[in-house]
């Protein structure tokens, strides 16, 4: 087993394990902090998939931006309501949870069957791309290529997404503003 493979298994184990902890934990703050770990492990997986720029973006935007936002929202919504929700959840522990667990497990089995039927390594376009020498080699530097593509091939989606981001931020600021008392 090569070192890369070993790293992949470690990373995916950390990602899945911390995600399960996030789902199972009763303590909201603890689960938010475990979500940090999941995101870091996912960034490691992106590096192993030879997408270093995406990994850095993941760390900057997800870990630096989204998680801090979530923590803020958690601190701004009051503590007593969260406690009330937890107490209530402890009373009727399971019927709801078992049903959703069965749903998720069945969906997982379906996805696994599909994945094994798909057999992604032998897809036609993947084989063609390997044959045409179009796959990323481990020693390649992709960041310049991404920058050039962003300004040429994908210029329109880039502009659209920047306008959408601006609209979303203005909308979020408008929504979060305190209402004037009438």
């Amino acid at each position: 087993m090569s070192l890369v493979q070993l790293l992949f298994y470690i990373m995916s184990f950390i990602a899945l394990g911390s995600a399960i902890f996030v789902a199972a934990s009763k303590n909201l703050v603890r689960s938010i902090f475990m979500f940090f770990i999941t995101l870091f492990a996912l960034a490691g997986l992106y590096v192993l998939a030879l997408a270093d720029f995406v990994a850095i973006t993941q760390i900057v935007i997800y870990v630096g931006g989204i998680l801090v936002l979530i923590l803020f929202a958690f601190m701004l919504s009051g503590k007593e309501t969260l406690d009330a929700i937890q107490k209530q959840r402890n009373q009727f522990i399971s019927a709801n949870k078992i049903a959703s667990f069965i749903l998720a497990a069945l969906f997982f089995v379906t996805l696994l069957i599909m994945i094994f039927k798909l057999d992604a390594n032998n897809l036609l376009w993947v084989k063609n791309s390997i044959k045409a020498n179009n796959d990323i080699k481990p020693n390649a530097v992709m960041t310049d290529n991404i920058g050039i593509n962003l300004m040429t091939t994908y210029l329109l989606p880039f502009e659209i997404i920047s306008i959408l981001l601006m609209m979303a931020l203005v909308g979020a600021a408008h929504l979060a503003r305190k209402e004037q008392s009438q």
Binding site: A19, L42, L45, L82, I85, L111, N145, A168, L169
Partner: protein, 101 residues
């Protein structure tokens, strides 16, 4: 050599954990985290397949777009959650069942 199937299995696992959180939780913030997990599973797939496109970088590019979109979604969703908390004093989506007037 890490194969594509390994990545697909990991992302299927993440997606199902996200689905479980989405269905079973009684707290809007935890539901939001579930949605983020599902989005991350999708991004992992994009990145894994993007390995086979060196010249156009289609997969990695749209993974970047998806990350930015997730940021926008989260900002708006958290603003909505704050508003809901201010109005209803709870963030359990099952209890938010009244219109404005």
């Amino acid at each position: 050599m890490i194969t594509l199937t390994d990545f697909l299995i990991v992302s299927a696992g993440l997606f199902c954990i996200g689905l479980f959180m989405l269905v079973s939780k009684h707290n809007a913030i935890q539901i939001l985290i579930g949605i983020e997990l599902m989005l991350n599973a999708a991004i992992l797939n994009l990145v894994a397949f993007g390995k086979y496109d060196r010249f156009n970088n289609g997969g990695q590019m749209f993974a970047l777009f998806a990350i930015v979109l997730a940021a926008a979604t989260t900002a708006v969703a958290l603003a909505i959650i704050l508003n809901v908390y201010r109005r209803y004093k709870t963030i359990d989506p099952a209890k938010v069942d009244k219109l404005r007037d």
